[in-house]
Each structure stands twice: as structure tokens, then as C-alpha cells.
């Protein structure tokens, strides 16, 4: 009898004698029964070197870099922005002093949709959920006193991503820094906005063209800049299951890659700067296994489907963050603990960066104090717990390896399903991803409501009778900021050379009708202080609007 046969026989005996069949059932996140225990027999079929390997080497299951957190912990970059550029600049400086690694800009809704602050539709939303950016003048204030040559800036914006990048390049130029010297990440993932969250501006094909313009520009001119950061998180937060999140994100990423290849870029020219941003729940082992599966699958897709040759082109680099939707409004202080567990799942999953939501997210954007706690949660994990000592500490776990294989297979099914529907763009235009996500969201809502998925303080161990009054200090929107924002916008419009602005916008429209890369034209337009709204309106006139397939 071989060792493996002995293990199988022993496990069979143990199950009979211990009557493990009578134990309560446990289901994994795929809804399937989990064994009471996993043994070497469950993983005996896995070829270690081929399927798991070593960190920093194909297929990267154990991590994208050889040293992982031994070299340095993940990048801690809180998502932050509100009010005017002055307000946000102050908050950023505070967070940098507290140890934040770079800045991750949150833009308000008008900015994300490409509307100026004086647009009637923007009236009630200016500066509420993020910083308000109308023109280069705001961007100059936003980065005032920050070292652009060393700072890592990340921009959470999609539809107007190209314009925001143009403004950042223009701020650098004003300080004598060429685009080549600027480092950061632009989310620039338009497709996720059509699936969830709705921050779209144009018909889908035009959005894809702008994304590709940015990718091409960064490939040629900005070696330190990551031109897209594919957002699974937007879909997960809208309710997508962990498998749909990964599958749809990879399908969307494939559409961007194909568009860049069609543009004439070689895969190894740009694929080394693709990164992802995923949401993480509190099911620690499944989440960690999913990230391991995602690394292996992405590496294979890049190598086999897109023909990447450089190992750097095959890396699933990701920012992971506990999704705000996993937080609860009842007993909100408990979110600190949920956050810490989700953070652990990210680290066990091998994340390169993390934002981490503040505990008061169900109610408002963070205060200075709640943001500091979100940063400290990460710092305690990185420097006090020892999780950074070795790469992929769950590698070899019989259960985690089994889950990794199963999750990979399920994610592949989702990608193939989307490809079978004509690819991401067609699937989105038909409302397919939207419908799947709404199904997932409803299923989860029922699970929680019916108590099948425990949520402490909500559907179990909930405070009864009268909940104790909590005195919580939430972030308050400053209504006066609207006037300050409009004042700067009007000042900009009063001082600029209107002839030059009109000329730049006309040229932008002419080039938008053609196939030229729009980035140089956008940079000139923002340098003449054409506003974000004016530029986006000019583009919308050429590109046409998007008609939402309304799906419940």
C-alpha cells in the first residue's frame, strides 16, 4: 500500500468511526459542501511545480514577486477626497504624515461624469463624495506642495480618465517635470461603469477608444504610470459574487488588451503595467484562494491567449480592499473588526496594495479620525502580526489548494460564458453582466435577511430593545464649498484666452472624429484651461450618448 492509499484508507476509517457524516453541513462561497477535513489525498493529483511553483515565477500562484512582503509591505493608500482641492490637499498631507504611501484620489460625482460644478445637474453633488475638479486650476491646488516626482498618485476615475491624466501631465509640466517622470495609476476602466455604478459618459465603443488612447500614450511616454487598473470591485460592490467579480473583470481586461493589440501595440509593451482592483469579503480562506487562482489563471491567459513572452506581462498585480458593502450600519464600530479580517484575507491572498474603508463608510465618507484608524489597521497588520514573514503562507494547505483549483475552474466558466456572448462589450450592451450581478445581489440580500448568512449585530447577536444611542461624528459636507468652487471656476473662465480654448476644443472634436490619439490634444486643451465639462461635452457631441439597458 502506498502512503497515499494509506492516508485514504485512514481517512475512510476515521470518517466512519467518528461518524463525520452526521456533523452539521458547511457550505463554501460556491454553495457547495465543504469536507470536514482535507488531507494530502485531496491534493495528490496537483503537479506542484507546474500548478503552484514558486513566488515570482510562472504560474505565479504563490505571488507575483519572489520576496513578497519581505522587501516591503503592500502599498497603503487610502482612498480620499472631498470638497474643494484645498480641502483634499490638506487631508492628503495629513494622511501622508501618518504613513500613507501616496495618494488615491476620490472625485465627486460631477467630476466622474465629466460635468462642471456649475452644471445644473451637478448643483447638489459638488464636493460631496470626492473632490471637485473643474479645470487645471483645481488640479494645481490639489497637488500643491506635493512632490510629483516621488509621489505615487492613483486616480479613481473612468469616463473622464484621459482628461484627468492630461491635467496631471499639465501640472507636472508647469513644475518642469516631463510626463516620463510622473508615477501613478489611472483606473481608466470604462466597461465596469456600464456594468455597475453608472459613471459613464459616451457610447461604449468610444469609451474603449479613449481607454486605448491612454494606454498607448502611457506606453510611449509614461514608463512609470499604470494606464489601467481593472475594477472588479465596482461589480462586486454592486453585488457580484466573488467568481463573477473575477470572471467579468478578466473578460473586461481581455477587451482592453484586444483593443490595444488592434491599435498596433505589442502585448509585452503594455501588459507589464496592467493592474487590478478587487473587493474582498470576510470569508478569509476562499478569498485568499481566489487571489491565488486569479494569479495562475491570468498568467496563463496572458501567455497562451495573448502571447505574452515577458514574465512581467503575466502578473496579476492587485489592490485588494475590504468592500464597503461588507460593512454594516448597525453597530458600525464592528466594521473595524470586519475590516481587519478582510485585510488579513487580502494579505494571505498576496495583495500589492490596499485602500481599506473606514468603519463609518455605511453612513458617510471618512473623517480624519476614521481614516487614520483605517491606516492604523493596515500598519498593525503589516508591522505587528508577522504575516509578512513568508510568501503565500497558505500555500500547500490541502483545503486552500483544493479551493484554488475549484475557483479557477469557475472563473474560467464565467469568462468563457462572456466570450460565448461575443465578448465583454456585447455582453454589457445586452445587459447580461448587469443581470447576473443583480441576481447575485438579491440572493445575498435574502441570505442575510433570512439569517442563512450570519451578520453579527444584524441578524444574530443583535442588540434588542432600544439600541443604545451612539454619538458618532460623521463627515459633514460643507455647503459653503460650492460657492468657493464656483468662484474659482468663474475666475478661470474670466482670465483665460477664449479664442485659444475654442480653437483647442474644435481641434479636439476634429481629431475625435478621426483615429488619432487624443492625449496630446487633451493636454493642450487643459493647458488652455478648457474645463472638464467643456471637454467632455465636446467629446460627447462627437461620440454620442449611451443608452442604458434598464435591468432589475
Amino acid at each position: 500500500m502506498s502512503d497515499m492509499e494509506k492516508i485514504k484508507a485512514e481517512t475512510g476509517r476515521w470518517a466512519r468511526e467518528r461518524d463525520t457524516d452526521s456533523l452539521p453541513e458547511a457550505l463554501d462561497e460556491l454553495g457547495r459542501p465543504v469536507k470536514v477535513v482535507y488531507t494530502p489525498a485531496d491534493t495528490a493529483h496537483i503537479d506542484y511545480l507546474e500548478r503552484i511553483g514558486l513566488p515570482g515565477e510562472y504560474p505565479f500562484t504563490r505571488g507575483v514577486y519572489p520576496g513578497m512582503y519581505r522587501v516591503r509591505p503592500w502599498a497603503m493608500r487610502l482612498y480620499s477626497g472631498f470638497g474643494t482641492a484645498e480641502d483634499t490637499n490638506r487631508r492628503w498631507k495629513y494622511l501622508l504624515e501618518q504613513g500613507n504611501n501616496g495618494v488615491a484620489c476620490a472625485f465627486d460625482l460631477p467630476t466622474q461624469l465629466g460635468l462642471d460644478s456649475d452644471d445644473p445637474l451637478a448643483r447638489d453633488e459638488v464636493g460631496r463624495l470626492g473632490v471637485s475638479i473643474d479645470s487645471l486650476a483645481d488640479m494645481e491646488v490639489l497637488y500643491d506642495g506635493l512632490p510629483l516626482d516621488r509621489l505615487i498618485s492613483s486616480f479613481n476615475i473612468n469616463a473622464p480618465a484621459a482628461v484627468i491624466l492630461a491635467m496631471y501631465v499639465a501640472v507636472g509640466a508647469k513644475r518642469g517635470l516631463p510626463a516620463e517622470k510622473l508615477g501613478g495609476t489611472l483606473s481608466n476602466d470604462m466597461l465596469c461603469e456600464y456594468v455597475s455604478r453608472g459613471m459613464w459618459a459616451f457610447a461604449v465603443p468610444a469609451a474603449l477608444r479613449l481607454t486605448t488612447d491612454v494606454v498607448e500614450f502611457c506606453t510611449r511616454r509614461m514608463p512609470r504610470f499604470y494606464p489601467f487598473n481593472i475594477r472588479g470591485i465596482i461589480m462586486r460592490e454592486a453585488g457580484a459574487s466573488m467568481v463573477h467579480e473575477a470572471g467579468f473583470a478578466f473578460a473586461n481586461a481581455s477587451a482592453y488588451i484586444q483593443a490595444a493589440l488592434d491599435r498596433g501595440l505589442a502585448v509585452d509593451e503594455f501588459a507589464g503595467r496592467i493592474s487590478f482592483f478587487f473587493s474582498t469579503g470576510t470569508q478569509i480562506f476562499e478569498e485568499a484562494a481566489r487571489y491565488r487562482a486569479a494569479r495562475r489563471l491570468w498568467a496563463r491567459m496572458m501567455k497562451e491567449r495573448f502571447g505574452a513572452k515577458k514574465p512581467g506581462s503575466m502578473l496579476f498585480r492587485f489592490t485588494g480592499t475590504v468592500g464597503g458593502s461588507f460593512y454594516q450600519a448597525r453597530e458600525p464600530e464592528n466594521n473595524l473588526i470586519r475590516g481587519a479580517y478582510g485585510l488579513l484575507a487580502n494579505i494571505l491572498g498576496g495583495a500589492q496594495g490596499m485602500l481599506h474603508p473606514a468603519w463609518d463608510e455605511p453612513f458617510a465618507i471618512p473623517t480624519e479620525e476614521s481614516a487614520r484608524l483605517a491606516l492604523r489597521t493596515q500598519q498593525i497588520c503589516a508591522f505587528e502580526t508577522g504575516v509578512t514573514k513568508t510568501a503565500d503562507p497558505l500555500g500547500g494547505s490541502y483545503w486552500v489548494e483544493t479551493m484554488t483549483d475549484e475557483l479557477e475552474a469557475r472563473i474560467v466558466e464565467v469568462i468563457e460564458d462572456v466570450e460565448g456572448r461575443g465578448g465583454a462589450v456585447r455582453a454589457i450592451e445586452a445587459g447580461y453582466m448587469q443581470r447576473r450581478i443583480a441576481d447575485d445581489a438579491y440572493r445575498r440580500a435574502l441570505e442575510e435577511h433570512e439569517g442563512r448568512r450570519p451578520v453579527v449585530g444584524v441578524n444574530c447577536f443583535a442588540e434588542t430593545e432600544s439600541n443604545p444611542e451612539r454619538h458618532m461624528n460623521f463627515h459633514r459636507h460643507d455647503p459653503d464649498m460650492y460657492d468657493r468652487q464656483l468662484e474659482r471656476l468663474n475666475r478661470v473662465r474670466g482670465r483665460r484666452d477664449e479664442g485659444r480654448v475654442a480653437q483647442n476644443l474644435a481641434r479636439l472634436q476634429a481629431e475625435a472624429r478621426g483615429t488619432e490619439n487624443l492625449m496630446p490634444c487633451l493636454i493642450e486643451a487643459v493647458e488652455s484651461y478648457a474645463t472638464l465639462g467643456e471637454i467632455m461635452t465636446a467629446l460627447k457631441q462627437v461620440f454620442g450618448p449611451y443608452r442604458e439597458p434598464v435591468v432589475i
Partner: protein
């Protein structure tokens, strides 16, 4: 009430987070109501127009951007001006506890802040419309 309760589920303003709106729309539907969903980025005027055109009983607003006070005021004023002041307007979303009183004073029939059970709206509407008959 003999006929089904007709609900317009409306996403007002620029906020595109519609997970809650879609979940609650399905909960309403499963409870036997007729639900019309507006889609995203609706102005108060568009919501009023849709509510009147569809002759709904209830306008359910979903907002997560924080701009609810102003939007609710405009929707309520618009409905009254259109002769539809008897429609029930309810609101779900990121409402702070101390804003609930002000919203109700404006005429919002009920507010469902974060943490509300998903059937809270159904319970509120069924009791309101069974009392009405």
C-alpha cells in the same frame, strides 16, 4: 386596495449605486407590487413626469450621494404642482439619523436609512395601503 400597488423605483441625481434600488425593486415585486425602475441619473423633473405618466401610487427614491434633502424637496414640490401630491414618497439610502425628521417634515412618508431590513418598505407600504381601504 384591490389593484396592485404601483411603485416607481427612482435613482435620483448623479449617483449610480443601484444595488439597493434593484434589490428592493425585486422585494417589492416578490411581494406582489408592480414596479417600474427608472434607470440611473434621473432629475427630479424626470421622476415627477414618470410618476405621473405611469400613474403610480408610490415613488421610491434611492440615493447614496448625500444630496437627498434637496432632491426630495424638488420631487415633492413637483408632484404637488402636477396634482399628484397624494402619491406616497419614500426614501432609502445613506441618510443620517438626524436628517429623518427634516425629511418627514418635507413630506417624505418614510425613510429607510442604512441598516434597514430589506422588507421594511414592503411592511410599511402594505400597512399603509391596507389602512387606506
Amino acid at each position: 386596495m384591490n389593484r396592485k400597488i404601483r411603485v416607481l423605483m427612482a435613482k435620483a441625481g448623479l449617483d449610480g449605486h443601484d444595488r439597493g434600488a434593484k434589490v428592493i425593486a425585486r422585494v417589492f415585486r416578490d411581494a406582489g407590487m408592480e414596479v417600474i425602475y427608472t434607470g440611473l441619473h434621473q432629475t427630479p423633473e424626470e421622476i415627477v413626469r414618470a410618476a405621473v405618466q405611469e400613474d403610480v401610487d408610490v415613488v421610491a427614491l434611492s440615493m447614496l450621494s448625500g444630496a437627498h434633502l434637496s432632491v426630495c424637496r424638488q420631487v415633492l414640490d413637483g408632484l404637488r404642482a402636477a396634482g399628484a401630491g397624494d402619491m406616497t414618497v419614500i426614501l432609502g439610502g445613506t441618510v443620517l439619523p438626524e436628517e429623518v425628521g427634516e425629511l418627514k417634515a418635507l413630506g417624505v412618508a418614510e425613510v429607510f436609512p442604512p441598516g434597514s431590513p430589506i422588507d421594511a418598505g414592503v411592511r410599511f407600504l402594505t400597512s399603509r395601503y391596507s389602512e387606506a381601504t
